[in-house]
Symmetry: C2
Subunit: 611 residues, 2 copies
């Protein structure tokens, strides 16, 4: 078929072909045009409103380009060095609503890739290309696993335990890690596991005493808000009797076990206090305090894995210093046990605020929630059934959609049009849970569904805030058990009360500031320098020009899991799903650099906002 290709797309007679044949034929044309280096021909295989999302296979970046100009530009810059080949349909394609879609595999000069395409009228509408394996640096798994035992005999050999003990004794002391991961929560641990498998010497540090303490230290009734199918760590899925919503201490114990089983080099009770990058030596100098002792680490690469959130936002309020009760940010809140019979004020109305209000109420406190601006509410069950269930559920597994496949399918929807997939879901949710929403409105609660009605996940991507996944607290607000004051802020604080912006005075023994977090580059400001924080700019958000996510459009989350304006500085974080999936690409980028592969970055993001 390739000899009939003239450079203009051979619009497939798609009605006559099976979906698999149609996609296979498109891949054949695509392959041929790429192999010829005919950028114009490749471009013309795309629809005018196309989106091509590449996860490090062409661009050594997480990058989405749009339309013919975008595709053309990407190829101009990357085709010669990428040298893609062997595009082949994987499994069977499907067709619905005029869209033909399916999986494929391909290779580049240095790697193996997998992707997902959607065709409309024979032309590519959305394309996802991802790199999953570097040639010559494959993970030692399956048929390639190590033998373990050294059969034969040999005097004085080390066994596994001795080798592990030596590695642990040396790394960070006499042998420097290639990568330092600052933050040992789910993100740092999952990334550490991927780096370990790839043979990248990495050290994960965390200030808490044990892996998993990030979860254990939270309030008592906390369970994961996302369901189990969405939450697996890389390589070692939870057993099939794991609860749908994992209790915090159980996930904490799992992370501690995982760290050990994956043989991570993990330093607990270790806090980073200062870091600077030596541009000449291409090396970081990182000051840490380990078990109370200062120590300097000199990694080549540093990953900030301190969550998707940055430094806590604590509002400066007149009179706060005179308050005789207890006041702290939600991140410092220890749980409600100590506040029985006390008057508690929670400033904020998002996830943390609701969880803390419910916990305080369960423990017998008198609780008032102060809602400053509207909040998106979605019931956990509805979210599971209507928003996640297609990809992450028992039903999905029974249809053969593995976690890896679900992650790629999720990634295959370009951010630019993702809201159009979500809006109908949230319209359905509004109908289904109309009663809850009515009751909340009647209680004075200010509701929203995002600027464009696209709901939770888009809010999460755009601003990382502004919502509550209801696991029960909404009832307390609706029925008045948790008192609500909405449309107000705290104007002033006295010794024993808060004065609201509407003049109301509320007695208070406890004030919790559930007021969110700054951008992750706040950590860079604190640990490296304000200059470097400004140089890399704001993290997270898409540039959607919606509330708290100013434009211009970025196409990808700012600075996450991809090269930043600062060489050797990386950000990792997000929920368990994102940490699991994107740690793959971050680990491969680090591995490629360690091995000295050429990694020309296409479309390095520009900085439009510093915080």
């Amino acid at each position: 078929m390739t000899d009939t290709v003239t450079g203009a797309p051979q619009a497939a007679p798609h009605s006559a072909l099976s979906p698999s044949d149609e996609l296979a034929r498109w891949l054949e044309l695509f392959d041929a045009a790429l192999t010829r280096g005919d950028v114009q021909a490749v471009t013309s295989l795309f629809a005018a409103d196309c989106h091509w999302r590449d996860l490090i296979s062409f661009t050594w970046n997480l990058k989405t380009v749009e339309g013919h100009p975008g595709v053309h530009d990407l190829l101009d810059a990357t085709l010669a060095t990428t040298r893609p080949a062997n595009w082949a349909l994987e499994g069977q394609a499907s067709q619905a609503g005029g869209v033909t879609e399916g999986w494929f595999t391909f290779e580049t000069a240095v790697a193996r890739g997998r992707g997902y395409a959607r065709l409309k009228d024979g032309l590519c509408w959305t394309l996802l290309t991802t790199l999953y394996e570097l040639k010559g640096f494959e993970e030692k798994k399956g048929r390639n696993r190590i033998k373990g035992a050294e059969h034969g005999v040999q005097k004085g050999r080390q066994n596994w335990t001795e080798r592990r003990a030596q590695e642990e004794a040396e790394l960070g002391i006499s042998v420097q890690p290639y990568v330092l991961v600052i933050g040992g929560g789910q993100g740092g641990i999952g990334l550490g596991a991927r780096l370990k498998r790839l043979g990248v010497p990495a050290l994960v540090i965390d200030k808490l005493p044990r892996p998993g303490d990030q979860w254990r230290s939270r309030y008592k009734s906390l369970c994961l808000h996302d369901p189990v199918w969405y939450d697996h760590m890389p390589y070692l899925p939870f057993p099939d009797d794991w609860p749908v919503f994992c209790p915090k201490d159980k996930i904490g114990d799992w992370l501690e076990m995982y760290t050990k089983v994956m043989e991570l080099n993990y330093w607990s009770s270790t806090e980073c206090v200062k870091a600077k990058y030596d541009e000449d030596a291409k090396e970081w100098e990182v000051q840490v305090i380990r078990d109370g002792q200062p120590l300097v680490l000199r990694p080549k690469q540093v990953v900030f894995a301190l969550g998707m959130s940055g430094v806590a936002n604590v509002p400066q309020i007149e009179g706060a210093e005179t308050f005789k009760g207890i006041q702290h940010h939600s991140s410092k809140h220890p749980g409600g046990d100590a506040f029985r019979g006390k008057k508690a004020i929670v400033l904020g109305a998002n996830n943390s605020a609701h969880d803390i209000c419910a916990d305080l109420w369960e423990n017998g406190a008198d609780v008032t929630m102060l809602q400053r601006s509207s909040t998106h509410i979605v019931r956990s069950d509805s979210l599971m059934d209507l928003a996640l269930g297609g990809l992450y559920s028992e039903q999905a597994l029974e249809k053969g959609i593995t976690t890896d496949m679900a992650d790629l399918l999720f990634a295959s929807v370009p951010f630019r049009i993702m809201h159009t997939f979500h809006i109908p879901v949230y319209e359905e949710i509004q109908k289904r849970d109309a009663d809850l929403y009515d009751r909340l409105r009647k209680a004075g609660f200010m509701l929203d569904f995002g600027d464009d009605g696209s709901g939770l996940f888009m809010k999460y991507l755009r601003r990382g805030s502004g919502y509550y996944i209801d696991v029960g607290a909404c009832d307390l607000v609706a029925n008045g058990d948790v008192k609500l004051k909405s449309g107000v802020d705290i104007a002033r604080i006295t010794e024993h009360s808060v004065i609201l912006s509407d003049g109301t005075e509320l007695e208070a023994d406890l004030i919790v500031y559930a007021t969110g977090y700054g951008s992750m580059n706040g950590w860079v400001e604190r640990l490296v320098s304000p200059e470097m924080a400004a140089k890399v700019g704001k993290c997270w958000g898409l540039g959607s020009d919606t509330t708290k996510d100013p434009g211009p459009w970025e196409g990808e989350l700012r600075n996450m899991w991809k090269p930043t304006q600062q060489e050797a500085l990386w950000f990792h974080g997000g929920n368990l799903h994102q940490s699991r999936h994107y740690s793959r690409y971050l680990a491969l980028q680090l591995k490629a650099r360690m091995e000295g592969l050429d990694t020309p970055v296409y479309g390095l993001q520009e900085v439009h906002h510093t915080a």
Copy 2:
């Protein structure tokens, strides 16, 4: 088709049918005859030389019957209460060498079952029936998993950690376990996990300080002798980069993690010192020492899970008490580090003897192995490739043979004819490794391949001894690095030497008795009474009338994982594969008893040997 059944088998025109149709048709006839309660008709669907192996689905026993009389007798005794139904082909059957074989599912009055059948000339040659799930008592997994979070709010509720802490504080103290598992190695832990999933209150005790210490405490260079695919624990397979032969400390750490993740109630540093059964109260009284403190437990059921081996055999040798050096059984041997430059005598030539000789040699000792009788040697690689690879390997996984399927296929070969499957494999191994065997013979080593040439696994089943899986030590014996004296025993021991049965005197600083173990009922003799040990009789072995496995033929391993002559007393053990697979049936038998289901035992084994 059922209305054409007259009671005589409708010999399927099997050449005309696909294998799946042939097996489906046989199942239909079988189902119809069973449903009619027509034992004669059912029996006539079997070949004259048939074997029916049932794992607790008809017999509440592990039981193999043979020939028409065996099938007839089993059905006479069990059909009315079992009420089997809904026999259905699962997947596709296959055909080779005149045998049609495949999977099926079925139900009984109280349970769901799965099995595997082999037909010859339209009649059943081998039938495996197994119970995997009790109706109404299914494991809470997959779609039935618990929610975990209690959505909604509730004052004063316990969280997961508090519930676990309460369970741990109470079980064995104020709340008695239904099952006490004595021995917390791989067997006890895996069984504990199954009981936990089934909601059976169980306590696992072990005398060592931490789960996994059973492995950690062994000699330094030890790795599992079986490959990774054969060694998974129930429910949580090893990650796919796990080494082929897992180092001892790594499996130790895994077991410790597994115990925690599976939420077992596991008491470390706890030794059973005495047990007795109260036949009236139907309850055990078990004295244990926990962390130095005596305590009495009162479980309804006791499982001895102290390995497949019993109490160590230490030979009584004249003059042993005068020896000035160190002497101990192989099970007490700490590793070779302390014996550099010392003269070591190892009595025995099986697995432990070889491993200990190699370890001593690696540590610079002068080592002599004393071989009393012939040993079966098989190279680890050959065993993997030729004996296990078809069921337990990457290749098997790629063919879709999961670990569970492999376990059932393994179980589907009746013990009576298993050797006929193995003899050709070991003929092939003898050719492949002829050079090694020649070199060993030249060094004076006495070799065998089992009484009938059926090799390692049959020796393991028949006597649990008499072999070495070569992972390197054979070279040391063949080339003289480890000195060999064969056909001798120790006649006498002096202060600094051993005198052999041929009169030779060898200087010795260390004597290791790699002289094996007694039957597991030795533990009953020690912990309960000699009377009860004699009542339950010898454990392990098939009654094959080969060396160290006296007849009569038993059909199944004696006393393992099935009811014994002593009510409420069970034995569990074996390698990782057996522990994984048979713990399923043992756990289900215990669950059924706890729930008060009727569990009439067909064919309870008679005792022919007491040790």
